[in-house]
Symmetry: C2
Subunit: 142 residues, 2 copies
């Protein structure tokens, strides 16, 4: 029942991006260094984030990543769904999952559903902007 480290890293890195005033692209190396991560690992995470439309990239010298949308428009929930694949506590309540046959009789489904709904409600309106207002340069010991 743990989120993966990708979520932590991705969230922190995006918050760091959001904290920049200038709209200049930030090279991955810099972000990775701040977070105490290898550039290559963070690269993988940013690939996903780019494909999902959270950041855009500029290649070449003076390139890097920028937020593709304003921090106020980025929902933590969406971010986590991207990084985790899915924010469901159990397979049978995943978004793309076809309902299993026994739904009307299933004891556990109601629990998983309620859990999922509560999570969605909790962070469904939280934006990157809210979060990024706490300073983030520090790295976290794991």
């Amino acid at each position: 029942m743990r989120l993966s480290a990708r979520s932590e890293y991705g969230l922190r890195a995006l918050a760091a991006l959001a904290g920049r005033e200038a709209a200049e692209p930030v090279p991955l190396r810099e972000l990775a260094h701040t977070e105490g991560l290898s550039e290559q690992f963070l690269e993988q995470i940013f690939m996903e984030l780019r494909k999902a439309g959270f950041v855009s990239s500029t290649r070449g010298a003076h390139g890097g990543y920028t937020l593709a949308r304003r921090p106020e428009e980025i929902l933590i929930f969406d971010l986590l769904e991207t990084l985790e694949g899915d924010l469901a506590p159990y397979e049978c309540v995943a978004t793309d999952q076809p309902e299993c046959v026994q739904v009307p009789f299933c004891v556990t489904r109601q629990v998983w559903l309620k859990l999922r709904e509560s999570m969605q409600q909790a962070i469904g309106t939280m934006t990157l902007a809210e979060i990024a207002s706490t300073r983030t340069w520090e790295t976290v010991s794991r």
Copy 2:
């Protein structure tokens, strides 16, 4: 971000136990068969449940397991915390975890905290009795 299958199995099995009118011990073999599980695997789960005080066991012929408390007194949240070890989306908000040094600056902690609280709130008052009222003999395809 998935719960383990132990949770599903444990929950279903306890619900099945709760569904029995008679207070006679139910042998594991019977429960395992109903759930379509190996006896030995369910045994491991019931060990935990017994140690945590959810069920009590009777050895020997005509032995088996019974609920140690009334279904109305068994909280799903407690059950899941037992089966999952901990219901925290991230290490740093686990119950026994000492606060990490950077708390006041940490961007992500607030997210994990909120997630955890919402889950607790969602199922914190749900009891086994509520759940067990849906019939449970059916097995679920995974």
